[in-house]
Amino acid sequence: MVADIAQPIERRVGVRYESVSRMFSAHAGIIDATAEAAPGECLAFMGASGCGKTTLMRVAAALEVPDSGRVVFVRGGSEVPREQVEIGVCFQEPRLLPWRNALRNVALPLELRGVPRAHARERAQEALERVGLSSWGRALPGRLSGGMRMRVGLARALVNRPSVLLLDEPCSALDIVTRVEIEDHIARLQTDLGITVILVTHAIEEAAFLADRVCILSGAPASIAETLEIGHKSRSSNERDSGSFTATLTLLMQSMHDAARRGSG
């Protein structure tokens, strides 16, 4: 099952932010953000609430137009138009349509593209299996727990077999057990499918576990104060118990504090 959705190395897509600015007022917005996620990597944006992390994700999804700069998608060293890149987005809140059951919610992106209904539902079922909800396809969102709804949202982001996955605080509203479960799911997706992930989060553990590179935002308007490279031995659940993981947490925490101090100073 993994083989048919795994991205071959040459099909993988990288994401590059080139001096992206998007201002909402004199002190709110994001200014001159430059960052890069190589194909198959996870790039995380961290910072205080309201600093503009989500705006960076929305710019990549073309839901927001930057005032200046651009987001470039790169395949095999050359730029590819955004329309040619399959992008999956998992919003902070799952945004499921309450009148559609889980399966039909997941199948929605394919239906909108005109994929025949039976085929779309088959693929939606596969995506639900991938997030561990294979037997919940007929349940309406209202009958699912918060964590399950989040996973349905993740399955919907995956159903079109994206090269780039944009995750906006995917675990912010979840309890610790469900949070770890979903983080493990995302890590497996990265390892198995080679998807490039842009992660927006304010959870240090999440960034330490999933990201290859963390950009810390600070200031008003926000800019990238620091970029940290995270070395992963493996992306398994056991990594959380390792000493290097604890060291990464400490490093991120310290950098966040420094950024906050610089921002307020």
Partner: protein, 258 residues
Amino acid sequence: MKRLVDRVWPAALVIAAIVLAWDAAVRLFEIPAYLAPSPWAVVEVIAERRESLVAACWSTACTSAAGLVIACVAGVCAGAVIASNTLLYRGVYPIASFLQTVPLIAVAPLLVIWLGYGAPPTTAAAALVAVFPVLANTIDGLRGVDPAWKEVFALYHASRWQRWRKLEIPAALPHIVTGVRIATGLSVIGSIVGEFVSGYAGDRAPIGMVVMSAMRESRTDIVFAAIALSSLVGLALFACVSFVGGWLLRGWHPSGTA
């Protein structure tokens, strides 16, 4: 069954209390029958004239239901068109709001002039009075779709038609169902007002005409019987609409059936 009984008994108790209080008041104050008959006199007259009263109810129910269907189709279609364009919304919606304040009783004679006597003008009167809540709620529902859902559709490059069919109409459905529920009671009122002006006497006379002829004969018991039965017509239509609405919203909206 137990659930149904649990739901019905409080209302049944209130109705029984009102009937008993009404009967007691008629007896205690010796109110003459032409002013207020006792509830038992009303029951008696219903039993006596059941054939003509059932026919009257049926006639009124048919025109009310037809008017309601026309109002639903016209309200949803016009609402969808108006909601789709801001300029149209700004141009047409205030006029529609103004028109709904024109009293139906003043318009009913016009309907007779245009459509003649009998069912066509009463159906038109029912549709006319019922269309606004459907129209207004459709517009509110379509214009109030959660922007977060719209973004999901924008993200996957949904066409205008796909957005309308798969997002806006289902999202607006709870509003539309509420509009239709309000319109149901109004359609019966519209139908009876239409009958006052355009109805016809005889065996198949609708409720509005039964009320008018009973009033002329000072048969208050028949007027009361007609009022009670017209309420039953409204209640039956409302139950049908609530059933369909509850079925459409079942499982995902609080007003849907569990």
